[in-house]
Amino acid sequence: MDDPISGLIRRAQGGDVGSFSELLDLHYGTIYRIAWKWCGHRSNAEDITQQSCIKLASSLAQYQFRAAFTSWLYQLVISCARDWQRAQQRHEHEALPADELTSDGSGRSEDYIYLVQLLDQLDEIGEGMKETALLVHAEGLSHAEAGQILGVSESTISWRIHAIRKHMNKAEALMSGGV
C-alpha cells in the first residue's frame, strides 16, 4: 500500500470519521467485487459488502500494517462472506428462485448462472476451495499471497489449485462423455 492510504488508515484508526469514510469509498468497489465473485449474486453481494463495511469499522483498529491492506481486506470480506453463507445454509430450502439470477438487468445473466454453478461446484470440492480459486484465478493473486490471506501455506494453495483443476477436468469429462 502506498503512503496516502496508510496515512488514511492511520487517521481512521485514530478515530477520524472523514478518513474512514474516504477509506471506505476507496475500497467499496473492491469489497463489492470480491463479495460478488464470491456469491455471483448482486443483492447477496450487497449484503456481504455491507456487513464487511460494518466489520471494517469495528475492526480497523486491529489492522497492524503487517500485511498489505488489500490482503487484510480480502481476509475480512471472506470471513464476512463465510459468516453470511453459514447463515444462509441454515435455510437452504429457501434458495433463490432462478429468475432472480437473470433479472439483473445487465444482460449478462448467463454468465452469472455459470458463475453461480461454478461457485457451487467449487464449494462442493471442499472447504477453502472456492476462496482459493477466487483469489488465484479471479483476483490474480500469487499462491503465496492467497496463502497469507487464507491463513494456509503456499504449498497448500498450490495443492488446492491442482486439486480443483483435477476435479474440474473430471467433471468436464463426465459431462462430455454423457452427451
Binding site: Y28, Q88, E94, G105, L134
Partner: protein
C-alpha cells in the same frame, strides 16, 4: 457450446457496477458503527435518553450493525410502556419517499401515519449522513392493503415474492389479512423499471409487522424505522428489537432472505405450533441430551481396571429438579447420576496445600440395594483458596440474547445470576459482556468490578430477540478474553444460553475443536444452561468439558446463588485440571464391580497416563465423589458366573494383598502445569466409614440410589423411592443452604410423578 474452462470463467466474471444506493447505505451504517466504536467506549453502554430523538437514526443503523444490542434499548424505552400486545399490521416499503404524500395510504390504524411521518422525515436523517442519505431513509408505512401502484415508478424492480416464507415466520397472532397481503402485494408490482440514473436497490421488500396490541403510535415509531432499515441497510439479522417489542414480524420480498433467515431460524423446527400459541409457549420435549447406557457390572478377572475422569458438573441435577418440580419424571438421558451426586457439597477432608490440591478419602460400606455387595466411596475435596490468594479474574460473560431466551427463566434469570456473581469478585477483577443473537456484539468492554454500576447497567439493558449465532459470539468472547489476558490470573468465559446454536459453527466437532484450541491458550469456558423446552444439554457438556469448565444448569435464582456465589471460587478458580481416576480391583477379593454414573466420563485404561488426554477439572473447594459397587469374592450376589476355564494363577498371585479391595490412583495437573502428578492409595477392606464422614456417605448413597431409580433402576434391585427418602433423611447433616432438604422433597415428587 463448449463451456469455457473454469479458470477463464473466473477471470472473466466481471462484477456489475456497485449500486450507489447500496454503497451509500453501507457507508452510512459503517460510519455509524465507526463512530460508535470510536465515539466513546463508555457511552456505548449507557442507554440513550428516551427523549433523545436525534439519536434515532444512529440507533437505526446500529441495528444493521453487529452491535445492535447495546443500542436497541433506547427505542425500547421509548416504546415499552406496557403496550406489548395489539395487532397492528404495518407494511413498510422503503421506497416511501418516492411516493407523493397524497398517495400514501395508511389504513390500519390511522394513527400510524400521522405519528410516523414527522418522525420519519425528521429523525431518520442520520447525523452522519448527508442530505441525500436522509432522503433515502424514511420508510414507507402502509397497510397490507397497499397495492403496487404505490410503488414508485423509478424503482429498479420489485423482488419476486416468496409466499412460502410465510409459514416459517413466527406469527403469534396471524391476523388474517397479513398473510395474503404479502403474497398479493408485490409480484404484480414488478413493472420492470427502466434503468434510471440511479438504479435503486431492490429494497422494496414489504415488511409486515404484526405487533401485539401495541398502541399504534408507539408502534409506528419503531416499526417504521426498523422496517426501513432492514430494507435499506440490509437485514443484518438485526431485528431483535422488533422481535421483542412487537413480538412478531413477517417479512416478504425477494431480498430479505439473509436477515430474515437469521431472524426466524429458531422457529423452523416447529413453525406450525408457534403460529397460534401465546408468547409464553415453550417448546416441550426438544431438550437434547446425549444418550448413554448405564455402566454395566464388570468382572474383575476380565477387566480389573476402571478409569474415568472427574466431573464436577451439576447441570443434570438441576434439570432433573426442574422436571420433577413440574410434576414430570425427567428424560432418562438427562439423568447423570454422578452429576446428581456431585451437586451436593460433601465434607471430605480437604488438603491444606496448594501443591497437592486434594487428597482422596476412601470408605467402604454395605450397599443398601444389593445384599452382600459393598459400596466404595472415593471422595476428594479441592483445596480452598484463601480469598487473599485468589488470582485476578478476567471474565467475559457471553450471553445468548436470541429470541428463544425471552422467557422469565432464561435471559432475565441469567441477568440476575450474573449480577450476583459480580458481588463475589474483587474490585480489580474485570468483566466484559458479549452477546450473541443474529450477530454477535460486544456490549461492554472489559470493565473493572469497581465500576459495578456500569456493568450492571450494561447487563440489565440486554433484551432478547433474533436467532442464535452462538459460535460467532464465542469467538468474539474469546477474542476479548485474549485481549485482556491476565497471565497469572483466571481467564474465563461464562456462557449463558439455552444452548441453541443455530447459526455459525453448528457442527459440534468444529466448535469443540475451537474451544479446545482456546483452552491451550489459557482461556477457559464454563457453561450455564437456562430454560427448558429447547435446552441443548449436550452442547453445554461438550463446551464445558473441552473448555476446562463447569456446566451448570440454572433453573432458579437460588441455583444461581449456589453456582455463582457459594461456589464461585470453585467455578472460577481451578486448582487441578485433567483429574483422572483409576481403580485397579484385586481379583482375590473382588469378583465384580460397577461404577455408578460417570458413563459419559469413561476413559480408556491407557489414557490415564497419557497427559495429552483431557479430563475434568476441580475448582477451589470443589468436592468430587465417585461410588463403586463391588461384589466381594465369595458373595452370593454375583451376577456373572465363574469362567470354567479361567486360570487360577492370576487369583493366587494376588493373595499376598488379600487385605485390599483394590488400588486407587489419581492423576492431575496443577492449573498451569503440563505434566501430571500421581496420588496413590490402597482401598483397604477394613476402611469402613469414619463417624465424621457417615452423613456424607449415606447421603451420597441415597442420591446415587435416586439417580439410578430415575434411570430405570437396572441394578438397584428392591430399592424404592421410600428407601431413598429414609436414607437421605437420616443423613441431612448441617445442610446450611437447605439443598439436602430440597432433595428429599424431590424424591417425594418423583414418587408422585411415577404414581401418575
Amino acid at each position: 457450446m463448449k463451456a469455457q474452462s473454469f479458470e477463464y470463467q473466473l477471470q472473466h466474471a466481471i462484477a456489475p457496477m456497485p449500486d450507489p444506493v447500496a454503497h451509500l447505505l453501507a457507508k452510512t451504517a459503517a460510519v455509524a458503527e465507526f463512530e460508535r466504536v470510536h465515539g466513546a467506549a463508555g457511552r456505548a453502554i449507557s442507554p440513550p435518553a428516551a427523549s433523545d430523538a436525534g439519536s434515532w437514526p444512529r440507533r437505526l443503523f446500529l441495528r444493521g450493525s453487529r452491535r445492535h444490542v447495546a443500542s436497541k434499548r433506547g427505542s425500547r424505552n421509548l416504546l415499552l410502556g406496557g403496550f406489548a400486545s395489539a395487532c397492528v399490521v404495518v407494511i413498510a416499503v422503503s421506497t416511501y419517499w418516492l411516493v407523493p404524500p397524497g398517495q400514501r395510504q395508511v389504513l390500519v390504524p390511522p394513527p400510524v401515519t400521522s405519528r410516523l411521518e414527522p418522525e420519519a422525515g425528521g429523525d431518520l436523517a442520520p447525523p452522519v449522513a448527508k442530505a441525500s442519505d436522509a432522503d433515502l431513509l424514511p420508510p414507507r408505512v402502509v397497510t397490507e392493503a397497499k397495492p403496487e401502484p404505490q410503488q414508485p415508478p423509478i424503482v429498479s424492480r420489485v423482488g419476486p415474492d416468496h409466499p412460502q416464507k410465510t409459514p416459517r415466520s413466527r406469527v403469534a397472532h396471524p391476523k388474517g389479512p397479513s398473510l395474503p397481503a404479502q403474497t398479493g402485494a408485490s409480484p404484480a408490482a414488478a413493472p420492470e423499471p427502466s434503468e434510471v440514473g440511479i438504479t435503486t436497490t431492490e429494497n422494496e421488500a414489504e415488511i409486515v409487522v404484526a405487533a401485539d396490541k401495541t398502541p399504534a403510535t408507539a408502534n409506528a415509531g419503531t416499526s417504521a424505522p426498523i422496517a426501513a432499515l432492514p430494507a435499506v441497510t440490509n437485514r443484518a439479522a438485526t431485528n431483535h428489537g422488533v422481535g421483542s417489542e412487537l413480538n412478531e414480524i413477517i417479512v416478504t420480498g425477494a431480498r430479505r432472505k439473509s436477515w430474515l433467515s437469521g431472524l426466524f431460524s429458531r422457529n423452523e423446527a416447529a413453525p406450525t405450533q408457534q403460529m397460534s400459541l401465546p408468547p409464553g409457549y415453550t417448546a416441550e420435549g426438544r431438550d437434547k441430551f446425549e444418550h448413554f447406557e448405564v455402566n454395566p457390572v464388570r468382572r474383575v478377572a476380565d477387566e480389573p481396571v476402571s478409569t474415568f475422569s472427574a466431573d464436577v458438573d451439576t447441570a443434570s441435577y438441576s434439570f432433573v429438579r426442574r422436571e420433577l418440580n413440574g410434576g414430570r419424571l425427567p428424560q432418562v438421558d438427562s439423568v447423570r447420576v454422578e452429576e446428581m451426586i456431585n451437586y451436593f457439597d460433601y465434607t471430605w477432608p480437604a488438603s491444606d496445600s496448594r501443591d497437592q490440591p486434594f487428597k482422596p478419602t476412601v470408605t467402604v460400606s454395605d450397599s443398601p440395594w444389593g445384599e452382600g455387595k459393598k459400596l466404595i466411596h472415593i471422595g476428594i475435596k479441592g483445596y480452598e483458596l484463601p480469598v487473599r490468594q485468589q488470582p485476578d479474574v478476567n471474565l467475559v460473560l457471553l450471553l445468548d440474547v436470541s429470541g428463544s431466551m425471552d422467557e422469565p427463566d432464561k435471559l432475565p434469570l441469567a441477568q440476575k445470576s450474573m449480577a450476583l456473581l459480580l458481588d463475589t469478585l474483587k474490585p480489580t477483577d474485570t468483566v466484559a459482556i458479549v452477546v450473541y443473537a443474529g450477530a454477535a456484539g460486544e456490549v461492554l468492554p472489559p470493565t473493572a468490578i469497581k465500576d459495578k454500576e456500569t456493568i450492571l447497567q450494561a447487563l440489565n439493558s440486554l433484551q432478547p430477540g433474533g436467532s442464535t449465532a452462538g459460535a460467532e459470539g464465542i469467538k468474539l468472547a474469546y477474542a476479548l478474553a485474549e485481549r485482556n489476558f491476565r497471565k497469572d490470573g483466571v481467564n474465563r468465559i461464562l456462557l449463558a444460553t439455552d444452548g441453541d446454536f443455530n447459526v455459525g459453527i453448528t457442527n459440534q466437532n468444529e466448535l469443540k475443536g475451537f474451544v479446545e484450541r482456546e483452552r491451550e491458550k489459557g482461556v477457559f469456558l464454563s457453561f450455564l444452561g437456562f430454560g427448558e423446552g429447547n435446552y441443548h444439554d449436550e452442547m453445554g457438556q461438550v463446551l464445558a468439558q473441552n473448555g476446562n469448565g463447569v456446566a451448570a444448569y440454572i433453573d432458579t435464582l437460588n441455583e444461581a446463588k449456589k453456582v455463582l456465589v457459594q461456589e464461585s471460587t470453585a467455578s472460577l478458580f481451578t486448582i487441578a485440571k485433567d483429574v483422572k481416576f483409576q481403580v485397579e480391583f484385586n481379583p482375590a477379593t473382588v469378583a465384580e464391580y460397577r461404577l455408578i454414573g460417570y458413563e459419559t466420563r469413561a476413559l480408556k485404561r491407557e489414557d490415564f497416563n497419557n497427559d495429552k488426554v483431557d479430563a475434568g477439572d476441580v475448582g477451589s473447594g470443589h468436592a468430587v465423589t465417585a461410588i463403586y459397587e463391588i461384589t466381594p469374592v465369595g458373595s452370593k450376589a454375583k451376577l456373572i458366573d465363574e469362567r470354567r476355564y479361567a486360570g487360577s494363577e492370576e487369583t493366587h498371585s494376588q493373595q499376598s494383598k488379600g487385605t485390599e479391595y483394590g488400588f486407587l490412583k489419581i492423576r492431575y495437573k496443577l492449573p498451569n502445569g503440563f505434566r501430571s502428578r500421581l496420588i496413590e492409595q490402597p482401598i483397604r477392606i477394613d476402611a469402613g466409614v469414619p463417624e465424621a464422614l457417615r452423613s456424607n456417605v449415606e447421603f451420597s448413597t441415597a442420591v446415587a440410589g435416586f439417580g439410578q431409580l430415575l434411570r430405570g433402576g437396572k441394578y438397584t434391585g428392591p430399592l424404592k423411592f421410600d428407601d431413598v427418602i429414609r436414607q437421605a433423611r437420616g443423613a441431612l447433616g448441617e445442610d446450611p443452604f437447605g439443598y439436602r432438604a430440597e432433595f428429599l422433597s424431590l424424591v417425594h415428587k418423583a414418587k408422585d410423578a411415577r404414581g401418575m
